[in-house]
């Protein structure tokens, strides 16, 4: 696959190629869960195909006090009861405490979908929790998903263009959604004039770096190093 033809926009084939490279690189890693990644797969609901990266939800393990300082309206959000948030991995006295290997451990799914309108990848995030403790609400977003360092960027005209709850475009159920209206602009800025030499895989890695950090998604360096060989 050559360079991205219409940077910062991707074609279906370029997006597919980048996804395939990511899946192949992930599968070839000796360490099966770099950066808490549990799986990388494509999901197909014709005619739409999307990439799903699943991680153990590390942000749930250590809700930062900073997160409590600010919610979307600038007010102090009420943190769930200790047993609700910290108790994901348990409280010592709690006989029903969960261990990290418990089947009830929440996972976080990052669905990357090529927007048929904007022709840039779009990020949809949701927490899969067998005990339904983290519904797709703004309160969960600010308490358990969003990295506090990025809260200001998610407001108004920030670089991320806003994170909110909306329906998953394929599965039609509420998830967290990073709005793509500024993605093209951000990708141009990140490319720094090197867009002519950029392949779809580089694009995807750069895009995850720019759009994913706020919600806890990074490309583990093992993956980048391995692909770069």
């Amino acid at each position: 696959m050559g360079c991205v033809a219409f940077f910062p926009h991707l074609s279906d084939a370029e997006f597919q190629s980048a996804c395939t490279t990511l899946i192949r690189s992930y599968a070839s890693l000796p360490n099966p869960s770099p950066g808490n990644w549990i799986s990388v797969e494509t999901k197909c609901l014709h005619p739409q195909t999307f990439l799903r990266i699943t991680k153990e939800h590390s942000l749930l393990l250590s809700p930062s006090p900073q997160r409590a300082e600010q919610d979307q309206s600038g007010n102090v959000p009420s943190l769930p009861d200790e047993g609700e948030s910290l108790g994901v991995y348990g409280h010592e006295e709690d006989p029903e405490a969960l261990s990290p290997s418990s089947p009830a451990t929440p996972l976080i799914h990052y669905d990357i979908i090529l927007s048929p309108t904007y022709r840039v990848p779009t990020l949809y995030v949701h927490i899969a929790d067998p005990l339904h403790r983290f519904p797709p609400t703004m309160s969960t977003l600010y308490t358990h998903v969003l990295d506090p360092a990025y809260i200001n960027q998610t407001k108004g005209s920030g670089v991320l263009g806003g994170i909110t709850t909306a329906d998953h475009p394929v599965e039609a159920r509420p998830v967290f959604f990073v709005h793509p209206c500024r993605t093209a602009e951000v990708m141009l800025a990140c490319a720094g004039g090197k867009e002519k030499d950029m392949e779809a895989w580089d694009y995807l890695v750069m895009w995850i770096g720019a759009m994913g950090k706020a919600v806890g998604l990074d490309v583990p360096k093992e993956l980048v190093v391995r692909q770069g060989r």
Binding site: P116, H132, P136, V170, P174
Partner: protein, 301 residues
Amino acid sequence: MSNRDTATWLRERVWHASIPLEIRLHKADSSSYDSDAYLVHFPRLSYLAFLLPELHTFFYNDLIYPDVSWADAWLEYDGVPLKWHYPLGLLHDLYSGAAPVSAHDTSEEKETPSWQLTVHFSKYPEDQLVRLDTDGKHLRDLFTNNVKEADYLRNGTGRTMMFLGKQESQDLWEGVRKHDFNLFHPIYTQLMNPKGVALRHVPVRLYLPHAADPQAEEEITPGSVRVVQELVPLNTSSRQPQTVGSALNSIMGGLFPNKRLALVAEPVLHGATLPLDASVEDLMRTSAYCDGWLHIAFALL
């Protein structure tokens, strides 16, 4: 009537179309044995969320916990929670079970029977419905994102929406919220006819019943739909004007193997079967929802 007059007449007809609703309080939230139903003719183009404050007031004396916020309320039909960001007409086309009116239907216009909905004030289905806020900001954001996306599809830049003044954006939303044609229409007309820009694509979303996937990890919830969205250019690859049939054939050839004849399913918009030879551009100009989209449901044959 000229084409222009017909388009205006249709646009107004779609704007004024309404569905009679009969809304009852769910028994789990009701302190009385048999509370009255709330009856209203509600516009097809509008959003049910706008009814919630009024429903809260109407059922206040019947509620077990009357001090509950109206933003905790949700509406349901036959076990299906009704999505806030789907306009009423789409919800009715998807779930009411009413047979769509066809162009071949020669009988006189029939009155739509009341759609019987249930309002709940507890057990909000957070996994199925986006949560609303009492300021209405979230609903407005969902609407605005759709308007922006439709604008981007139509002209390839999204600039018309981006360059609307604060007052114009406010008028557009207030026009929707109050269902006020005079507020809404001037701004909507600007969006649909940007100066110096050629129309590129028609904003179309298709809503299919969610077939159970045997490999799916999660259960399919009642009323779950799969939304399909692809670029719909004004003309086909053979430079013919894009019709409903050619667009459906290109996006879902399995369901629409023939561009001129519906064999498996029929597209439904505003309670009517869409003729497959209708131009998508004409449809957009006369029959789009307030967010600029053609939201199309399907009836199986």
